[in-house]
Structure formats: C-alpha cells, structure tokens
C-alpha cells in the first residue's frame, strides 16, 4: 500500500513537470515548438532525455529477468554492445540529421528521405513500416505500467486500473507539454532510474549479507555456476547481437529527438557519457538478476528456478503447450520487484518502485514521435497544413496522441503480453534493417529512392517471415535447436529455444546485410536524384552554404 502511494505521488510530480513546470507561454502555437521544443534543448536535458528515451521497461525489469535465466552474458550482449554502437551512430548519423533539420526545417526522418531522394509515396511506405514497428512499444508500455503498479501495490491496484493511470499520465503531459514536457519528464525519470541501480545494489546486497558468499555458493553449484560465465550463449549469437543497437538511430523517436538540440555541441556530452549511463543502469540490474538465483526464502523465485530445472531435464518430452507454460513460469521479469519486496523497507520500496515506473513509462516519446510523423508525413504532406494552417496541424497532433493512447490501452487490456513482447523482438531487428536508409541518405550520393523502397520492403517482408516461421515451427526444449533447412551439411535455418538462427546467427544479421546490399544493387541500377538535390546534401567545398536553397519540405507531389 505505502509503496503504491509513493508511486502515485511520483506520477503526480511527473504530470506537474510535464504539463506546467517547463511550459513556455506562446501566443499562436507552432508545430516546431510542440513537436520539437523549438529545437532548443540544452546539453543536460538533451543527454539525459535522449538516454531516457532509449531506455524502456527492459532496461531494469527485462535485463534483470534475462540475467536471472541466462547469467552475466546479458550485460555484454545488450549493454556494452549498445554502449559502443549507439553513441557511435549518434556521433555519425545523429549530428548529420540535426544539421539537416536546422538547415532545411525537417521534423521527421521521412521528410529527409522524401527530399533527399525526390520521392513522395515511397516516403509514405517508409512511414507505414516505421509506424507499424513502433506500435508494439506503445502497447507494451501501457501493459508494463499496469503490471508494475499491480506488483508494487501487492495486487491492491488491478492491472486495468494501473494501465489506465499510466496511460492517462503519459497522455496528459504529451498532450499538453509536447516535446518540451516529454523531454523534462524523461530527464527527471532518467535521474531517478540512474539512482535506482546504486541504491538497489546497496539495499539488496546488505540484505543478502554481502555478495561474496552468494557468488561463491553459486560457483560451487553445477546448476548455477554457468550463470557466472557466458557458456549458455554461443559466440555467434553474441556477435549477432551487436547488430541490434543499429536499430536505435533508426527508431523515429530517437532520430526526431536528435532534431531538438539547440547546438550541435550538445551531442558531445551525449556521445561521451552514453556508455557510462548504460553501464550505471545495466550493471546493477544484471548483477542483481543473477544474484536472485541465490535467494532461497522467496517462494516465487524458487518456483521460477524449479520451472527452469524441469524445463531443462524434461522439456524434450513435453508438448509445446506444456513448455510454453513452464517458460512463462520461469520468466524473471519481476525478480527485481521480488527482491525489493524481500529486502527493501516499505518507504524505500516505493521510491525504487518509482524508479522502475520511470523506466516503464518510456512510451511517451514514442507516442509523441508517432504523432509528429502522422501530422508531418501524412497530414501536412497530403495538403492538410496548407488547407487548414499550422494551428490545426498541432491540434491534429494532440487528437492523435489521445486516439493512440486509447487504442494502446484497449489493445493492452485485450491481448496477451507475450504477443507484444515477441513483436518488440521483431521490431528491433526490423529497425536495425532500416538503418541502411539513413546511412545511404546521409553518406552515399549514389543512393536512390528505388534502393530505399527495396530496403523498406525487404525489412517488412523479413520481419513477417521470421514471425510466421516462429509461429509455424514450435520452439524446441532448451538444448539443441530444430534444424529446418540444411545447405551442404550446414544448418542454414533452425528454430532455437529462443527464436530463429540463420547459419547460426540471429536473423538480424542477414536482415541488415541484405538490406544494405539491396540498397546498393538497386541504387546502382536506377536513376539518381537531380544534381541540384545531391549538391544540397553533399556540397562541394567551394560552394558557399548560403548559395544553396532547400526545396519544399512537407508538400505532396514530389
């Protein structure tokens, strides 16, 4: 009860910050102000908000859950690889996206693609693929809110009510505060969940009587010792995972966020401190997830360990339904919550619960991004802005925020969470496969709109193909994978306990490589944009920037 009240107080603070604290009173509302905070964010807010925007519920709950089952490998797999790839893409791509936004007034990635490749409806295809891949995140955000509030309150707050509260809070500050409100809320939330890790380690560590004993006991146990190493994951899988963080810059909410910085120098601190921020949040979460295996006096954790053991010893003889049931039982997404319940005093559990809520409520920037994309890439592009004016465009964006949140809430109540968790897995690979679009648009003069279309269609088709494959071929029990297709004695396509393998790699590897290859081959075979357009994007050194003129952004018929 007390933790739930602390979390409610936290939500009230979030609403206050998002709606009132940093509201800028202006007369007639401009789209650029609502959707991009007038491209005016300072270095502190830009760093923390960009980081917070990229950290979903998975950062705390999912990472500790993954580590509970798979061990310390979780950190190298997901955190340290992101700590290298994400800031690198922000440095190389984010800065260029920012500069184009400042120069030509772009507000979405699709606007850049349309202008860069002189296309109209191909941009609309890209919009739809991006939007469809983003939707599951928004839905799972609402679900995460409901589940977390339910768990923190000890069941006192029902799932439907918790989900409704979180949806309402997020909708309120996105509706009223736009990008400025969202950025400040994200900054506040990031500070909170960065503190979460350190406090949780100290509290749980002292509760467990220090970690040294627990680690040595794990080392001595054949069942738990592998969790302290990476032997449960193959090096191929580990390598494949480094492709996943390519998705970050291709996510529309991240690319759009890059447009909000006041000056390009604000990227400097973000690029440098990003790996440290990731480490601060993931290291404690992963370590505590592994340590949860040594907690013997929490019955729910013991049930999970028992389900894991049964699955490992008898899984091969079970039906797929029985295996799914055990997989659900062994899932460790709530181990951090269970540890807090066991070791943290009530008031602190509330504060730490607020930290978890902060990570869960990352869907705000995705809702705002979809609203920005809809109003700019569809409403404005197909003449809405010209006919009705900019104020109506902003109001349309706000109505879209309400409709989207209500839709996400209704779906969250109806559909099982596992469906959307899977969809998110596919979406990460999908966005990684869309990354060549940005790279080609920004770095390769020879790229064309047909290359962009081929990349986009391939991405959509491959995401659907993996989803269909995984739904047709049931996952095997933990252990060897089911070979579906061999080529010259080599396992070309396999169904693994956790997903799919193509020549031993995760599907994201061929998805990204073929996506890039299609961009290159199709662009070679098709005609390039006009010389004027190419020179605007790749100015010759002797050409003064002031001599170049942007063509119409956000107008149909290109």
């Amino acid at each position: 009860m007390i933790p739930a009240l602390v979390v409610f107080a936290y939500l009230a603070v979030v609403v206050y910050i998002g709606i009132f604290a940093f509201r800028k009173s202006t007369g007639r509302e401009k789209a650029e102000d609502y959707f991009l905070a007038s491209r005016s964010l300072g270095p502190f807010v830009f760093l923390l908000s960009l980081f917070g925007t990229n950290m979903t519920a998975f950062a705390i709950l999912g990472s500790s859950g993954h580590a509970f089952t798979n061990g310390i490998v979780t950190f190298g797999l997901m955190a340290s690889s992101s700590g290298l790839v994400i800031p690198l893409t922000i440095f190389l791509i984010g800065t260029r996206v920012w500069a184009l936004g400042k120069k030509f007034g772009f507000m979405t990635p699709v606007q850049i693609f349309r202008d860069r490749w002189e296309c109209g409806h191909i941009g609309t295809v890209i919009f739809f693929v991006q939007a469809l891949l983003l939707l599951p995140y928004i839905i799972i955000g609402v679900m995460g809110g409901g589940t977390t509030l339910n768990a923190i309150s000890g069941g006192w707050v029902p799932f439907w009510f918790g989900g409704a509260i979180v949806a309402l809070v997020v909708m309120s500050y996105v509706f009223f505060g736009g990008m400025r409100g969202t950025a400040w809320v994200n900054t506040f939330q990031t500070i909170l969940f960065l503190c979460f890790g350190a406090v949780a380690v100290v509290v749980i560590g002292s509760g467990m009587g220090g970690f040294s004993n627990a680690v040595q006991q794990m080392q001595a146990s054949p069942a738990f010792a592998p969790l302290l190493t990476r032997e449960r994951i193959s090096p191929y899988y580990f390598f494949s995972y480094t492709f996943i963080p390519l998705s970050a810059i291709a996510f529309p909410h991240i690319a759009i966020f890059c447009l909000t910085a006041k000056k390009m120098t604000q990227f400097k601190k973000t690029v440098i401190f990003y790996p440290i921020c990731i480490m601060l949040i993931w290291l404690p979460s992963v370590f505590l997830g592994v340590m949860a295996n040594r907690v013997t006096d929490v019955p729910k954790i013991q049930e999970k360990i028992e389900a894991r053991r049964t699955l490992a010893t008898q899984g091969a003889q079970m039906t797929p339904e029985q295996r799914d049931e055990l997989l659900e039982k062994r899932a460790g997404d709530d181990v951090i919550l269970l540890l807090l319940e066991r070791y943290a005093p009530f008031w602190l559990a509330g504060l730490l619960g607020a930290g978890i809520m902060a990570a869960v409520m990352a869907s705000d920037s995705q809702i705002l991004a979809l609203s920005t994309m809809f109003t700019e890439d569809i409403f404005a592009f197909y003449g809405g802005k010209r006919r009705f004016g900019e104020a109506v465009q902003v109001q349309t964006g706000r109505v879209f925020v309400i409709l989207l949140t209500v839709f996400a809430y209704v779906v969250a109540l109806q559909a099982p969470e596992t469906i959307f968790e899977l969809a998110i897995q596919y979406a990460f690979s999908g966005y990684a496969a869309l990354a060549p679009l940005l790279v080609a648009a920004l770095f390769w003069k020879g790229s064309t709109k047909w290359g962009a279309l081929a990349t986009t269609v391939w991405t959509a088709a491959s995401v659907v193909a993996v989803a269909v494959f995984q739904s047709i071929v049931p996952a095997p029990a933990p252990g060897p994978s089911t070979v579906f297709y061999s080529l010259g004695g080599v396992e070309a396509l396999s169904r693994t306990p956790g997903g799919t393998a193509v020549f031993g790699f995760m599907p994201v590897v061929p998805m990204v490589l073929i996506s890039a290859l299609l961009m290159v081959i199709v662009s070679w075979l098709t005609s390039k944009p006009s010389r004027t357009t190419i020179e605007r994007y790749f100015p010759r050194k002797e050409t003064r920037p002031s001599e170049r003129v942007a063509t119409g952004v956000g107008q149909a018929g290109a």
């Binding site: 310390i72 490998v73 950190f75 190298g76 955190a79 340290s80 690889s81 700590g83 290298l84 800031p87 690198l88 440095f91 800065t95 260029r96 920012w98 500069a99 400042k102 120069k103 220090g210 970690f211 040294s212 627990a214 680690v215 080392q219 010792a225 302290l228 190493t229 990476r230 032997e231 090096p235 580990f238 390598f239 480094t242 000056k263 390009m264 120098t265 990227f267 400097k268 690029v271 440098i272 401190f273 990003y274 790996p275 440290i276 990731i278 480490m279 290291l283 992963v286 370590f287 100015p539 003064r544 920037p545 002031s546």
Partner: protein
C-alpha cells in the same frame, strides 16, 4: 592519418567486445564478487566512453556546424 587511426581504434574496440577468452570462467572474481566476464564488459563500457571522447575531440564534424551557421542569418 588521424581519421584512419580513429577508425582502427573503433574497429579494435568492436573486436575486443567479442571476448571469447573469458567465455567459460568466472575467475578471477574482481573485488571478491564480480565475475571477470562482467567486470571486463564494465571496463569495456568505460573504454567505449574514452573512445567516444577521442572521436568528439579529434574528428568532430565542425563543417556541419559551419554550414548551419552560414545559413541561419539568411533565414532569420
């Protein structure tokens, strides 16, 4: 030359991420409780931050800033 060195540093860091040498052992336990594989990747994160510092210090795309600055008065 400077850019080439930075590219090589980034590639080296990417290769160092695939640390097969600590794959199957938790030992030594750093500070008495942190498995070496976990410590290695925490140290890797710090190294990544250092490499990012090198990139923004020695390869900052200042020409992009110049282009924007040249353009802004024209729009204002």
């Amino acid at each position: 030359m400077k850019k080439l060195i930075l590219v090589l540093v980034v590639i080296a860091l990417y290769v160092l991420h695939q640390d097969i040498w600590f794959w199957r052992t938790p030992n030594p336990l750093v500070f008495g409780f942190l498995p070496i594989g976990l410590f290695y990747h925490a140290a890797f994160s710090v190294a990544a931050a250092l490499v990012m510092w090198m990139l923004v210090t020695y390869a900052w795309p200042s020409h992009l800033e110049d282009e924007v600055e040249h353009r802004e008065p024209e729009e204002g």
